[in-house]
Assembly symmetry: C2
Homo-oligomer: 242 residues x 2
């Protein structure tokens, strides 16, 4: 199966959670909006979004084409891909638990985005800087510690040990957790230096994920887009509480 | 199976999406935090949230106990309950599509909440009124039309006809869509009077859901909490653009 991933071509964004799973599994996939092949590129993505062709249209990128299926919503894509890529637990209970954690990660990612866009996604950051500063104080002091404390606790309570969030093997949830840690460390280095002292298991998890052979190769390749200030995680020093 | 639903006892909130599914199916369940039975009540919910007992702890309410399983995240709970309550399609592709729509509903609900809490959930509305007013102008003019236009389109494209969002029978996604329409009409009556002229299929869907016998009985009962200004959908006239 050759998968087609549709996502904005210049940011990691939510698409990166899917890219990490595909890359870690060595899956055959095309990053459609980044491809220069004929019929590909951003135009191909916009044709799907704006076209009247699909009976099951996506609301927004990322979305995945798998044969005749079109699947959107990051956590939903990963729920579909996980078992097929060997990155999900075997039974229903484990998959629901993985999905529950992935949705909690998605909530954190949404909050990380809204810190620099508290008023509206359609406005520039510069048009909501004052509000962003207020929001960031709460995000860095209350929300990041709460979320990361929760995930540290999940690792501590895992009956199979603290090497993975779900069960005894790596799942897409571990890969996504790495991405969140990397994003938060990029955007809020001072805050994270303080908070991660209390989340050693999460720090080690992120390190182990980054060292997985296929992921390490991916992260060192040009396929891994650099963090930037049009993305979900943005380095605005004025939003990073000391 | 007697289900136990754990959610805040004085608001509809995200728990209501689960309540609607349980009520529509006539399921045997206890609304734990609202129960006055011994060992129940809010204290029972807080014991789970704050306790060290569970290997798979929830991050926040709502969560569901089903025998030995504890399941959190609204869309995840509904993904679990849907097939068991006869409120989900039969195959994997249909269930992923239902989940995709439910997650898009969840995104809309989160944005509806953040309109009155653009800076932080830990602050009172009165402490972020100015910012809320700015955010509301974008939410009512850009976001509600975009989301509802999308769902209207989903109904129009359903190969089984526009009576349901997924397939030819009612699913939990239809029930959740009713709840969103009811909530938005409560919170933003002027905006919705304008927008729903362009979404007649969604309006009819919500009416049909409300007329389902078990749901109609539930909605007329004291079990259905009234909308109020501590909830996700709040009627603040200053946030409802004319």
């Amino acid at each position: 199966m050759r998968y087609e991933l549709y996502y904005w071509p210049t940011i990691q964004g939510r698409g990166e959670f899917v890219r990490l799973a595909l890359e870690d599994a060595g899956a055959d996939y095309i990053d459609v909006a980044r491809s220069r092949a004929k019929g590909m590129g951003v135009a191909a993505m916009l044709r799907v979004l704006e076209g009247a062709g699909l009976a099951r249209p996506p609301f927004a990128p990322p979305f995945l084409r798998a044969g005749a299926s079109w699947i959107a919503q990051t956590a939903n894509i990963l729920f579909y891909l996980g078992p097929r890529l060997g990155l999900a637990p075997a039974g229903e209970a484990g998959r629901l638990w993985a999905n529950q954690l992935q949705l909690t990660i998605a909530d954190l990612v949404a909050e990380a985005h809204d810190v620099h866009h508290p008023i509206a996604g359609s406005l520039y950051y510069e048009e909501q800087k004052r509000e962003a500063r207020r929001a960031a104080a709460h995000f860095t002091r209350e929300r990041i510690p709460k979320f990361l404390g929760y995930f540290e606790n999940v690792l501590a309570r895992n009956p199979s040990g603290p090497d993975h969030l779900v069960g005894a093997r790596a799942t897409y949830v571990d890969l996504s957790m790495f991405q969140v840690m990397a994003g938060l460390e990029y955007a809020f280095p001072k805050t994270m230096a303080r908070i991660t002292k209390k989340t050693p298991k999460l720090v080690r998890l992120a390190e182990r994920v980054a060292a997985r052979p296929r992921l390490a190769a991916y992260l060192a390749s040009p396929r891994r887009l650099p963090f930037n200030e049009a993305d979900v995680f943005r380095r605005y020093p004025e939003l990073d509480a000391a």
